[in-house]
Amino acid sequence: MIEAKYESALANRSEPSNASILIREMNGRGMIDVRGAAADRKFLAAMKSVLGFDLPKVPRSSATWGDVRALWLSTDQWLITCNGTKADELSAALVAALGGLHSLVVNVSDMRAVIRLEGEGVRETVMKGTSIDLTDGDYPPGTVRRMRFAEIAALLHIVEDNVIEIYVFRSYADYVWEFLLKAARKGSEVRLFGNRG
């Protein structure tokens, strides 16, 4: 029998050697797109029964429990992330728990590439490609939002103060990777306001 061979979007990219921050692809992440009405209590309860925590209802927020995380995407859409090996199982559990409730659960683990940026200056690096103000107090860890990044649509997740994950559709992974290599190039660092040190 033929064995399945896995190859992430950026599998052939080597670790950047000339970047002022850490840039790497988070391959193997499970991603499940969930649609349901935030006002539907039964839907929320069913989701909680599987996830163990409430779906975040505040715009641009996220919730985490262990290695499972829920990113708010819109008033009726969330992205659940988990270990990739558990995505099928978790999707099935969600579908089962939701039963006949109006909802749509799709395992989209392969649909996006996730690029993680770590280190001093990640926020400024991202601000070379987006007009949103990541130095503002409105962007604490946990913040999730969609943005225009360079020339494409991307999903931004602030994991920690100096850790940001960017989700892009898989086909754009190369483009974003190249942009980030350029924006994070050593010698081109920008430190805003008090971060000049």
């Binding site: 061979k5 052939n12 749509l104 190039r185 050593k186 008090g194």
Partner: protein, 1019 residues
């Protein structure tokens, strides 16, 4: 006097005159000698020199030739207002033209060229224009180059482009990198002079996030050229102390060498930071050459200062005639004297500072003042120090062409137009000052109103609807004490607007000691020796070579509106943007018309304030980042296989795979025959895929498709047509029913995003009662078509356990399962007319499965095929492509798919429109097949069929070719076309006249050229 000069042997050799003084020079470091090239000549200077100061220190005053008359020109200004000394810096792809020599910082190895001279700076062929200048008045180009029209392209335009024009662009790609940076600030202060520093400090005290942007390498503006004291400190020391405090604050960001080039609505501003222009080693270390800042500011404080006005006197453009502030600046900052014997020509007190500075430096100086008297402190001090002042006088003539040799001083009373008495004095430079103009550019870019101030004889800021304040000289506030108070208040107010609860720091206005000034007297025109405007031009706009006479002529010719005068004479245009020319020009127009300056109005200030590089505008988005390219999971394989790509939206799809020694035509033919005779493999991952689920999903699909989907059985596929509300085809594709309430829709590759948005829009805005969720999943799946008579064999080889029998898996059905270790969805659908399986697997497994299919297919002769083969295969079968066979005005009935337009459904998008008389009426264009009389003749795409062929157009057109190919399967050409009443013309022969008189004839046929009964699909 010689003892006062710093003696440099090469200076003496070069010029015989020492221009670099021994004392002072606050910006230069004499321990750091630098060497650079100007016009191919080695020039030496010091760290802290500008290109202008270093070259002037050598005694060279000539920097370029003027735009129209090619007159010799030198440095006039202190900084960004410089309009003459424009240079190109760098070589090859690094070349940047039109930089102001007064702003270019020199470094070892700098290479710069003067502009607008041919063949050399000192001998210029174009200077003949100057001799015939009485024949080149304002509007000359308009008058001369109008007729005959055919001459424009080949004679006039090349002539003008070579003769005129500023610097040349680089002819090679720019190897440097550039980038953009976004920033949001509470308070943006533009200008780092005394006013800006004071305001920034006041704003920062409340904790507001303050950004201070200044175009110069050093903060302080012209504090070093300003007389007086704040408390016990000199103005400049006071300013520098404030700058140092600001630099250390955590809530302040200071950007130097950064020009705010534009100020747009809602306080959005752009600043170009010249990161590495002054130090190429930064480039090597990875810095971008320029960084374009996109600044969004809650509050903007404009402390952009003021620019000194030239005076319109005869031959005021000679090298060695400069603004008084430029003379002072060169003296104080780089210890450069413009000569040994100068004249300060002024109508105000401020220029006496220059006279005093020159005197102190040991340079000979006299003052010519157009006013009858002044009791100002600086004037009295000059008199007390023994400086010769001629009141009630103007300069009426200048002798010398590439420099100043002498000047004539004439007695003058306000408004006097002719010279009555004059005397000649020898001098080698002239410092002129006609007063100061607040820099209003940024204020006006963003819609600010301005008003005329008779004391300044200039415009100053008036009203504004955005959160903007102008302070200091930019606001027409010309004293230090008023500036400090105004700047502090503006800073505090801006901070308070952003942070209403923050407490303002206590502020006590320091004691300011500054010379009291008498009023200036406007001087728009100084009468000249001899006949007016003959050999004695009074320049208003130096950069565009516009004189007082040109402006007056424009008035006489009826160009009454100042905007018309601007365009006719070119005054205030180009990079100058009116910086030095504006008010003087208006003054001239005022005197010529008898109207006041406010009645004349002012021309528009347009961004950019000074030119900035195309590189910074493009930022990082060049080369491989110029356009986002979407890659399928199989992209790298296609590249390795040598595929030729074609763009499909932002996707790059494999068009064909030419083998060794094969051209594209050969490889496409091979790929097609492989599918017809054996089996082929196509990367169809780009197909749009949308999951649709909910209790109303089936009814929803019935409404968005023309045909019925509620009757589709679970496990089955159906081809659907989609119309917009107008009844025109907008997309098509196969939709499958995954479960009772769950569908998977396929769209065209280009339509994926558009259709998903279309579905969401109808759900969210019109059919809000439907419980349906729509989730696009295009990129979750890698999807391939395995097509051809051996397709089933390949599938069986991949996984013998997958039941592929026609009974278990007929055409238009699908299965979810596994092919070996690969989880798949397999659809038995065909766009080629062959037995065909479309296999989808999660994208990250795509490349693995692709290679596994090729391995399994080797023994059956499998070959990958590209999008061109795909198109020919479908055309042979008469399958339409939305966008080829349709053009946005084509209905399903037009393309012969009436059977797919439901008669049973109550309603669906476009249904009502199909009932419109013009869509139901006769003579619509209908899709038909075409077979050319000559089977190897391939009709061009888009060729028109005409009712009657005539010798030449116009001919009545009755339709056009929509798809046309050489069919290797049939060994002849085939085409489809939309032809008026096409379906009732079967068998008719149509004529297609082509370019060059050729007429191709083709017979109308059915659209299905191959396997008309469709048996192969079901094999």
């Amino acid at each position: 006097m010689g003892g006062l000069f710093y003696s440099e042997s090469e200076d003496k050799e070069m010029t015989g005159k020492p221009y670099r003084l021994a004392a002072s020079g606050s910006h230069i470091d004499r321990s750091k000698r630098l060497s650079f090239q100007f016009d191919g000549r080695e020039v030496s200077g010091f760290a802290g020199d500008t290109l202008a100061s270093a070259v002037l220190a050598q005694g060279q005053k000539l920097f370029g030739r003027s735009f129209k008359y090619h007159r010799p020109r030198g440095v006039v200004g202190l900084g960004s207002e410089e309009m003459n000394a424009l240079v190109g810096v760098g070589t090859g792809g690094h070349l940047e033209p039109n930089l102001r020599a007064t702003q270019v910082e020199v470094f070892n190895g700098l290479v710069a060229q003067s502009q607008n001279r041919w063949p050399s700076l000192t001998f210029d062929v174009g200077a003949i224009n100057s001799k015939v200048s009485r024949f080149i008045p304002g509007g000359f180009y308009y008058k001369t180059f109008m007729w005959p029209q055919s001459f424009w392209k080949h004679v006039y335009e090349p002539f003008i482009r070579r003769a005129a024009g500023l610097g040349k662009a680089a002819s090679e790609p720019d190897p440097d990198s550039y980038e953009h940076m976004h920033v949001h600030v509470d308070v943006l202060v533009v200008g780092g002079g005394l006013a800006g520093l004071t305001a920034a400090e006041a704003a920062a005290a409340s904790g507001a996030r303050v950004m201070l942007v200044d175009e110069n390498p050093l903060l302080g503006g012209i504090a070093d050229l300003t007389a007086g004291k704040v408390g016990v400190m000199y103005i400049v020391d006071h300013a520098l102390a404030a700058a140092a405090r600001l630099q250390s604050l955590p809530n302040v960001h200071v950007l130097c060498r950064s020009t705010v080039v534009g100020h747009y609505a809602h306080n959005y501003l752009m600043a170009c930071e010249r990161v590495a222009d002054h130090d190429p080693s930064l480039l090597a270390a990875g810095a971008p050459r320029h960084r374009l800042w996109k600044i969004r500011a809650a509050q903007v404080i404009l402390a952009t200062g003021a620019l000194e006005r030239p005076i319109a006197f005869a031959n005021n453009d000679r090298p060695g005639i400069m603004l008084a502030s430029a003379v002072s600046g060169l003296l104080a900052r780089q210890a450069v004297a413009m000569g040994s014997n100068g004249i300060v020509f002024t109508n105000n007190d401020n220029a006496y500072l220059t006279a005093l500075a020159l005197k102190k430096a040991g340079v000979g100086v006299r003052v010519v003042d157009s006013r009858l008297r002044s009791d100002g402190a600086l004037v009295q001090r000059s008199l007390a120090e023994g400086i010769d002042v001629s009141f009630g006088s103007v300069i009426s003539a200048v002798e010398g062409s590439q420099g100043v040799r002498a000047a004539k001083i004439a007695a003058y009373r306000k408004g006097q137009g002719r010279v009555i008495t004059e005397k000649k004095v020898y001098c080698d430079f002239i410092a002129m000052s006609g007063g100061w103009n607040p820099v209003l550019h940024l204020w006006c870019h963003n819609g600010g109103k301005i008003k005329f101030d008779t004391v300044l004889a200039s415009f100053r800021p008036d009203k504004h609807s955005d959160a903007i304040a102008a302070i200091g000289a930019a606001n027409g506030t010309m004293t230090v004490s008023e500036t400090l108070a105004e700047a502090h208040m503006a800073g505090e107010a801006a901070a308070k607007a952003v942070k209403p609860k923050a407490k303002a720091a206590k502020f006590k206005l320091p004691v300011v000691e500054e010379p009291k000034s008498a009023a200036l007297e406007p001087l728009w025109f100084a009468p000249a020796t001899g006949k007016y405007n003959e050999g004695n031009k009074h320049f208003i706009d130096f950069q565009n070579d516009v004189t007082v006479a040109d402006l007056e002529l424009a008035q006489r010719e009826g160009y009454e509106s100042v905007e018309h005068t601007k365009r006719y004479t070119t005054f205030g245009m180009a990079t100058d943007q009116g910086k030095t020319s504006n008010i003087n020009g208006l003054g001239v127009l005022s005197e010529a018309t008898g109207k006041t300056i406010p009645e004349i109005g002012i021309t528009t200030f347009r961004p950019p304030y000074t030119p900035y590089s195309f590189g910074s505008i493009a930022g990082a988005l060049t080369g491989n980042l110029f356009l986002p390219v979407r890659r399928t999971p199989i992209f790298d394989w296609h590249v390795e296989r040598g595929a030729v790509f074609e763009p499909v939206g932002q996707w790059r799809r494999a068009y064909t795979y030419p083998g060794a020694g094969e051209d594209k035509h050969a490889s496409i033919t091979r790929e097609i025959l492989s599918v017809r005779n054996k089996v082929g493999l196509l990367d169809a991952s780009t197909l749009g895929k949308i999951e649709i689920k909910g209790p109303d999903a089936a009814e929803f699909l019935d409404r968005v498709y023309t045909n019925m989907f509620s009757t589709l059985k679970v496990g089955k596929c159906r081809y659907g047509l989609m119309m917009n509300e107008l009844g025109f085809l907008t997309d098509d594709g196969v939709t499958v029913r995954l479960a009772d309430d769950h569908f998977l829709m396929h769209t065209t590759s280009g339509g994926a995003d558009r259709i998903a948005a279309h579905l969401e829009e109808w759900l969210q805005t019109e059919w809000t009662q439907y419980k349906v969720f729509v989730t696009p999943v295009t990129e979750q799946w890698a999807q391939f078509a395995i097509a051809g008579p051996k397709a089933r064999d390949v599938m069986a080889k991949l996984d013998p356990d997958f039941d592929l029998s026609n009974e278990a898996f007929p055409h238009m059905s699908f299965k979810v399962g596994k092919l070996g270790g690969y989880p798949v969805r397999v659809f038995r659908i065909s766009f080629s007319g062959e037995q065909s399986y479309e296999v989808a697997t999660p994208a990250n497994l795509g490349r693995g499965l692709w290679e596994a299919v090729l391995d399994a297919g080797t023994e059956f002769g499998i070959e990958p095929y590209g999008t061109e083969a795909l198109h020919v295969l479908r055309a042979e079968k008469g399958y339409i492509v939305v966008g080829d066979e349709t053009d946005g005005t084509t209905t399903p009935i037009d393309v012969g798919l009436e059977s797919l337009v439901s008669k049973k459904k109550a309603d669906f998008l476009g249904k009502r429109s199909l009932e419109q008389s013009y869509l139901k009426g006769p003579n619509r264009k209908q899709l038909v097949g075409l077979l050319t009389e000559d089977p190897i003749e391939v009709l061009p795409d888009g060729a028109y069929a005409v009712r009657v062929v005539k010798d030449k157009p116009p001919m009545e057109m009755i339709g056009q070719v929509t798809s046309t190919y050489m069919s290797p399967t049939l060994g002849r050409s085939i085409a489809m076309a939309l032809i008026e009443n096409g379906r009732s013309r079967m068998g008719e022969t149509l004529s297609f006249p082509l370019e060059g008189g050729k007429v191709v004839k083709a017979k109308i046929t059915d659209t299905v050229f191959y396997d008309k009964d469709g048996g192969r699909i079901h094999d």
